[in-house]
C-alpha cells in the first residue's frame, strides 16, 4: 500500500472508529443544573480569595516535587541514554514510562506513604524512561564529524562524553525545560490522590463549594506554569534544588509502619491464591474478565472520542493562531486561549468539568480533547507561521483551505498518532475521577488493599499503552510520517 493510499484508508478508518466509539460512550450530562455551578464558579473567578492558609505552601511544594522529580529523572535518563540500543535498557525504560505518574503514586503510597519520596519517585520513575528515549535520540542525531575524527579505539563512553554530549547539550536542556513544565502539571495532579500539592487544595475547595478559593488555586497554578521559561534559569538550578530539597525534607507527613517495603514486596503484591492457597488461573481470569476487560474497553472508547475531538479542535483551531488568517488581534486572543488550555493538566480540567456537568464520559472527553487539541494546534500554528508562502498567497480562511491545511496534513496525522498514546495513558487515569476506565478499577482495589490485583491491572494498562504505541509507530511508518524527537509531542 502506498503512503497516499494508507493515509486515505487511515482517514476513513479513523472517522468510522470515532463514530462507533461515540455511539458506545455515555455522554449524557447528569447534572440537572450545570448553569448554577457554572455561575458560582464564574463568580469565584471574579472574586478569587488568596487568603486561605496553606495556599502558598501548596504552591511551593508543587514546584519542589516537579523540580526534584524531573531533575532526578533527567540524570537517570542521561545515564541510560547511551545504552538505549541495548534491549534490556530499552525494555526497562519503555516499562517505566508506560505507567502513568498517578498510578506510580498509588503504588508507591503503599510503601512510602504520603511522604515526599512518593511524589518524587512518582514523577521521577516514568520521566526517567521518557528522558532515556529522547536523550538517546538527541545523542544519535548529533553531527558525525567530531566523532569520526576520533580514533576507532576511543572508548565508547569517552566518545559520547566528548563528541556527542556537548553537541546535543542545548537540545537536552531545552527538552528538560519542557519536561519541567510537564512536571509542574504532574505534580499538581498528584494532589488529587492526597499529596499536599495544588491539586489537593483544588479538590478540597471544590468539594466544599469554596469557588473563590478554588479560583485562587487555579490562578496560582497559571502564575507558576505560564512564565516557567522566565523563572527556570539553568544557573539558578542549584539554588532551586537546595530550596526544593529542604522544603521536601521538612515536610510533615503521616508515618508509615516499619517494614512497609518488605511487606509490600513479599506479601501485598503476591496474588491472593498463592498466599492463601487456591487456584491462580480462575483468580486471574475473573480479574481480567470483570475488571481489566471493561476497564480497557472504556479506556479505548474514551481515548478514541477524545482523539477525534482533539483532531477537530486542532484542524479548525490552528488557523486562528496564524496572523495571516485571523489577523493580529485575533491570533493574539487565540494564542491566549490555547496557552491556557495546554497549560492546565487534562486531569484537572476533567475534574472541573465533572463538577459542572456531573458524572459521565463527557467531562473527560472535553478535557482530553481540549487539552490535546490545543497542544496539536499550537504546534501546527508554530509550523504554519514558518511556512514559506508565495507573496500573493491568499489570506483568511482561503489560506487555511488552500495552503495551510493541505501542506500540514501529514503533520496533523503524525501529531494525532503521537498524541493517541498519551491520550490512552491519560484516559486510563480518568477512572480515578469515578469514570469506568482502568483507573477506576485500580483505585477500587487500592482502597480495598488488594494490591495483587492492582499490579495486574497496572500491567494491563502498561500493555495497552505499549500496543497503542506500537500501532501508532507502524501507522506512521506506513504513512511515511516523521517528526523530530525534540518536538514537544513525546
Amino acid at each position: 500500500m502506498t503512503a497516499a493510499h494508507a493515509r486515505k484508508f487511515g482517514f476513513w478508518a479513523f472517522v468510522a472508529l470515532s463514530l462507533i466509539a461515540l455511539g458506545l460512550s455515555d455522554l449524557e450530562s447528569n447534572r440537572p443544573d450545570p448553569w448554577n455551578t457554572l455561575l458560582a464558579l464564574g463568580r469565584g473567578f471574579l472574586t478569587p480569595d488568596f487568603g486561605t492558609g496553606g495556599l502558598w505552601y501548596g504552591a511551593a511544594l508543587t514546584v519542589a516535587f516537579a523540580l526534584v522529580g524531573v531533575l532526578f529523572a533527567a540524570a537517570v535518563g542521561l545515564v541510560l541514554a547511551p545504552f538505549y540500543a541495548n534491549p534490556v535498557v530499552r525494555g526497562f525504560s519503555v516499562t517505566l514510562r508506560s505507567i502513568h505518574e498517578l498510578f506510580w503514586a498509588l503504588l508507591l503510597m503503599q510503601v512510602t506513604g504520603l511522604g515526599p519520596l512518593t511524589g518524587l519517585l512518582a514523577i521521577g520513575i516514568p520521566y526517567s524512561g521518557i528522558f532515556a528515549r529522547v536523550f538517546a535520540d538527541l545523542l544519535s542525531e548529533t553531527p558525525q564529524s567530531a566523532a569520526s575524527a576520533l580514533p576507532r579505539s576511543t572508548p565508547r563512553t569517552s566518545l559520547i562524553l566528548y563528541a556527542r554530549l556537548p553537541l546535543a547539550w542545548d537540545q537536552i536542556k531545552a527538552y528538560a525545560l519542557y519536561r519541567i513544565e510537564c512536571g509542574l502539571r504532574s505534580s499538581a495532579v498528584l494532589g488529587f490522590i492526597g499529596l499536599p500539592t495544588l491539586g489537593y487544595l483544588l479538590e478540597t475547595f471544590f468539594r466544599q463549594a469554596h469557588y473563590s478559593q478554588a479560583a485562587a488555586v487555579l490562578y496560582i497554578f497559571f502564575a507558576l506554569i505560564l512564565p516557567v521559561r522566565l523563572w527556570m534559569r539553568w544557573h539558578l538550578t542549584p539554588l532551586y534544588l537546595i530550596a526544593a530539597l529542604w522544603l521536601l525534607a521538612v515536610q510533615k507527613f503521616p508515618p508509615m509502619g516499619e517494614g512497609a517495603l518488605i511487606r509490600f514486596l513479599t506479601e501485598d503484591i503476591i496474588p491472593a491464591p498463592l498466599r492463601n492457597g487456591g487456584e491462580l488461573l480462575p483468580w486471574l481470569t475473573k480479574l481480567l474478565e470483570t475488571q481489566a476487560l471493561p476497564g480497557t474497553v472504556t479506556t479505548v472508547i474514551l481515548a478514541q472520542v477524545a482523539l477525534a475531538l482533539a483532531a477537530l479542535i486542532a484542524i479548525f483551531g490552528f488557523p486562528a493562531l496564524v496572523p495571516r488568517v485571523s489577523g493580529r488581534i485575533g491570533s493574539t486572543i487565540a494564542h491566549g486561549v490555547f496557552v491556557v488550555l495546554r497549560s492546565i493538566p487534562d486531569y484537572m480540567l476533567a475534574f472541573v468539568f465533572l463538577q459542572i456537568l456531573g458524572p459521565s464520559l463527557l467531562p473527560a472527553v472535553l478535557a482530553l480533547g481540549l487539552h490535546n487539541g490545543a497542544i496539536i494546534a499550537h504546534l501546527l500554528g508554530q509550523q504554519s507561521r514558518g511556512l514559506a508562502l508565495r507573496p500573493d498567497a491568499p489570506r483568511g480562511l482561503s489560506l487555511w483551505g488552500y495552503e495551510l491545511l493541505p501542506r500540514q496534513s501529514g503533520t496533523i496525522w503524525a501529531l494525532c498518532l503521537y498524541r493517541w498514546e498519551i491520550i490512552i495513558r491519560d484516559s486510563a487515569i480518568m477512572g480515578l475521577l469515578g469514570l469506568g476506565t482502568l483507573g477506576f478499577f485500580i483505585e477500587k482495589n487500592v482502597q480495598e488493599l488488594r494490591l495483587d490485583r492492582v499490579v495486574v491491572l497496572l500491567l494491563v494498562s502498561a500493555a495497552l499503552t505499549l500496543v497503542v504505541d506500537h500501532i501508532s509507530t507502524r501507522l506512521r511508518a506506513s504513512m511515511r510520517l516523521r517528526l523530530g524527537p525534540q518536538s514537544e509531542t513525546t
Partner: protein
Amino acid sequence: MGGIAHLEKRTLGWGETPVLTDVTLDVGIGERIALLGRSGTGKSTLLAALREEVEKTTHRAALVPQDLGLVPQLSTFHNVYMGRLDDFGTLRNLGTLVYPRAKDRGEVGAILASVGLPDMLRKPAETLSGGQRQRVAIARALYRGGAVVFADEPVSAVDITQGHHLIGMLHERFSTSVMALHNVDLARVHATRVIGLKGGRITFDLAAADLTDALVAELYA
C-alpha cells in the same frame, strides 16, 4: 613490504557510486605523500580508505579531517585533549571534562602556543575564526602523535607562510604523512612523493622532484 598501508586494485566510494577505481597504492614508512587534484576527484575518499587500512594495524594514526571535527561547545583545550581519549580511562576523561589536570593543561597549552594559539585554552571552539579552528584541529593531531598523520587540506584557511610552518610542524611530529593539498607549492616543498587524481583514477604517482609544470597544468586543466 614494511609499509604502513596497502591498497590493491580497490574501488573506493560512498555507497553505490565509485569515486576512484582500480586503486593500487603502498604507503611506506617515512614517506611524505601529497595528494593533488581538483576538488571532487577523490582525495578525501583515498585518505579515508588509507586511514581504514591503518586502523586495522597496530600503527597509531592521527587525523586532520577537512571538516575538522571540532566540538563547537567545548573549549580549545578539550578539543585538543580529545586526540588522546583512547589513551586514558573513561573516568579520567570524565574528570578532565569537569576539571583538567595542570599537567594536561600545560602540555596542551604548549602545543596550542606552537601552532599560534597562545592563551586560548578556555575559549569555546565556536568563538574561533576559520583559521584558528584549523590550527586547533592540527594541534589535536600533534597532541595525539603516532606513526602517520592523514590530513585533508589542513592549511587551506591560513596564509601561505603559516601553512609552511604548520606542515613543517606536522612533519616534525610524524615520520609518515599523507596529505591532500590545495597548493602545489606546498607539495613541492614538503612532500617526497606526489600522487595526482583525475577522472576517477590515479594519473601519476612520482617522486616530488619529478613533478613537472606540464603535469600540474594537465592535472588541473
